[in-house]
Symmetry: C2
Subunit: 498 residues, 2 copies
């Protein structure tokens, strides 16, 4: 224990999870560590949920995290109805239902905005921070575990700081982090990152013994997401994407060696594993979430460096990581999300960005978040931060969903996350639409002929041509039919005409 709590005066602040949870009360603003299920507190939220279930109290909190967290936090608290406000991202089914029923007030945000909005006070003062830590230094500084997220900001801002000291990672995890909190305006400085491997901060979150009020010991590991397998459809998308970038580099339009960002899920894994057989060498990542495939790519000598905000592994992936952590650590670095997702750094580095669309319209606007325009899936996450500022902004999606009943290419998106100005390439298993240097009417033909599923191609082209003929304009639309695909799905469960 003294290996991990090296500041002697903090040893008597060790409490049980129940005692720590007793500091969380109804109406409080609570910030937690955690980014896309990694490095989030587990025992304290479980204790809180247990207390609420036991006492039947009506406690509801406002919960702020870096991004999504594991079931021990979002799931356990949602189950007892203990979340009032929630931001900025989630991936929990029960919480999703509560958000969509209006029971939970959810704030969907660009991940790069979260820490500064908290510091500006736009959500009010922070009562409690619960931060999962790997160790506490001699000086009382906090070494995070598998994610950084918003932890540096909440450690500074919260009235009460609870550290959940997690002993499941080898000592060598220490040193993987690069923690940097910008000064706020009007004194904000430049972030001198010109390579993904540049370090600009310290390996710990500055706290000090006065800023750590309670410590809970934990040996509960992150809930590991199993490695997402990918389908033939996703593989086909990945192949086109890799071909496209290889051709761009060959043609001289894109320099070699730009860093990559990629979202999570099946397509992302297909892309990452596709790199193993790709012509790319000495690859770098400047991304958010690092997953199993990054270890494969390091092992294969394909990836020389990966900067992220969290490392989220499968059970098997974590075993490999732990066994060879000293070697992997030379290629990895974890930063706060206001640095990983900062437009300054993203635009400077010239990132190749790949994110998933729920649907795209014929002019290239993208919906990443709301099914049928109303029901939230997970949130916008960092996709806006990366796509607006990337060297080339790519969105991927299978051309249909629900066994063909939903077309991912529609006349008009039912919710809007990314505008035509931020979308340069759209890829489905049907093909790749290159929107660069094309005007909206050219884009419509490109997207319909290259990306739409054959079942929907004629319907879309008919809509577009009638809109050109009957209405015209820079982006021709039949306003009264613009959302008719969605209307048909709502009425008949199928976007196809009957």
């Amino acid at each position: 224990m003294k290996d991990r709590i090296r500041c002697p005066q903090l040893l008597d602040r060790i409490v049980t999870a129940d005692e720590a949870a007793s500091h969380i009360q109804d109406g409080m603003n609570v910030g937690c560590s955690g980014f896309t299920p990694a490095g989030y507190p587990k025992l304290v939220p479980l204790a809180l949920a247990g207390r609420i279930k036991r006492t039947g109290e009506k406690t509801r909190i406002n919960l702020f995290t870096g991004a999504s967290v594991g079931n021990e936090l979002d799931g356990a608290l949602a189950e007892v109805g203990a979340i009032d406000k929630r931001m900025p991202y989630h991936s929990n089914k029960m919480l999703r239902d509560q958000i969509n029923s209006g029971q939970v007030r959810f704030y969907d945000m660009h991940l790069s905005h979260v820490s500064s909005e908290l510091r500006y006070g736009n959500f009010g003062p922070l009562d409690v921070a619960v931060i999962e830590a790997h160790a506490i230094t001699e000086e009382g500084h906090i070494i995070p575990t598998t994610s950084v997220g918003i932890s540096p900001t909440i450690a500074k801002a919260a009235r009460t700081v609870i550290v959940e000291l997690n002993t499941t990672h080898p000592d060598e995890l220490e040193g993987i982090h690069d923690i940097y909190i910008p000064r706020d305006q009007p004194d904000r400085e430049t972030f001198p990152i010109v390579k993904p491997s540049n370090r600009i901060g310290k390996p710990y979150i500055e706290a000090g013994p006065d800023r750590i009020h309670h410590i809970v010991m934990s040996d509960r590991p992150d809930s590991h997401s199993p490695f997402a397998p990918f389908t033939e459809t996703e593989k086909r998308i990945a192949e086109q994407l890799i071909d496209f970038i290889a051709t761009e580099i060959k043609s001289g339009r894109m320099p070699k060696g730009l860093p990559w960002q990629s979202g999570v899920g099946g397509v992302a894994n297909a892309v990452l594993l596709g790199f193993l057989d790709s012509p790319f060498a000495n690859m770098e990542f400047y991304s958010e979430v690092l997953q199993d495939a990054v270890l494969d790519l390091i092992d294969a000598g394909k990836v020389v460096f990966a900067s992220g905000c969290s490392i989220t592994l499968s059970d098997e992936g974590e075993k490999r990581f732990h066994q060879d952590i000293a070697r992997y650590k030379r290629h990895l670095l974890l930063r706060p999300q206001e640095i990983t997702n900062n437009p300054e750094v993203i635009r400077r580095l010239g990132i190749i960005a790949v994110n998933t669309a729920l649907e795209a319209d014929i002019y290239g606007h993208v919906n990443s978040t709301h099914a049928m325009g109303t029901h939230l899936m997970n949130g916008i996450g960092g996709s806006g931060d990366f796509e607006r500022n990337a060297y080339v902004s790519m969105f991927v999606t299978p051309s249909t969903a629900k066994g063909g009943k939903i077309s991912s290419i529609v006349p008009f998106v039912s919710h809007f996350d990314h505008s035509e100005h931020d979308v340069k390439v759209i890829i489905t298993e049907q093909g790749l639409a290159d929107l660069r240097g094309k005007c909206p009417r050219e884009i419509a033909r490109e997207i319909i002929t290259k990306c739409a599923h054959p079942d929907y191609r004629d319907m879309l082209m008919d809509y577009f041509e009638r809109a050109c003929r009957e209405v015209g304009g820079h982006e021709p639309h039949l306003i009264k039919e613009a959302l008719s695909f969605h209307g048909r799905f709502i009425d008949h469960g199928d976007m196809r005409k009957r």
Copy 2:
């Protein structure tokens, strides 16, 4: 003449406008200086238009500028049907009609993206650049006039460079510019601007005698836009905006002294002139277009520094500026648009951004560009660059248009430019909606009750409440009615129910 062309070997490159225009031929990519009618070439495009009219030739070019330009360029070329592609922004009526009829292929772009997209080659190689200059240095470098825009990039990239040497400004204009072209990826560096007054470049565009092929002498001034007067409605918007910021500063949520950005037009002028009687002191601007009101604010000692991409004055404003240029110059600086509009600098400085919405929906999505979803007005301009990265992102609009027949607050915007994530405050003459820290359902009530015109308030609330009841979701919508306000206007010329 030798005062203005100080590189002796260039004196024999002086040609007539007709000779210069002869280098512009059908199908060419032509880049011109100019940003929001200032500093654009006049004689060469007029000569080109004259030639086309005279010969009846079918010449059509692809025209790239910084932003909108004067009638001598967009107007003259549109009149002879000589524009095929056009980007990234315009404000010419005839060109607008040609864009909306599909005759001109227009590319609406974030202004911060234009120069780098050109350099990346996404529009193909640049054949000709026509750059209005104030002088050419001993070394053959180009000193621009009243705007910088994309001139540094097109001077470097074009096969043929034509300088239109404009003698209408006093010698003292020299030194107002700060020209900086970033290195492209993977070698992009930081932009070390931490104050609007920081200089990071040179007072001229690096060219050299080999890069200037033809020079045309000109004494034709910029077409001056008359100072836009403002209405009572716009004044009421401005008053609320100033009150809001003053209250934010007083409450400690916003530090004193953040720089301002503001769009152009009536509301902008009402805001700027409202500053004269405001509590703000030592104000700074980090904006795009600097207009007459900035001179007033400098004279009143309210503004200590204004950084922009162009200075666009009325006749009377230009007279004042010319008479006292040495003094004004101490408070002013003009930069390329990839620096004025760069997210890196905007987010670092923490700008207070004010831009105009055409319409906003009940969840805070904004349409800035397309009337009834289809017909382009001017373009997105720099609004996305500023609003996404501002300290506080504000949009202003009168609550109705067309004498009340159009509501600027609608259930669902008919075109998307700015998502809910980038809109924090909406102001109409009816009131101010503060969206910070509110979830979508709270935002809907805030916008409807604060911003909508009374004629539309009940209709909007009825839509929202039925959507909550009948559909639910994180952003409740009745998909089949979402665009019904627009449908009603298209059918009956009035969004109000009959």
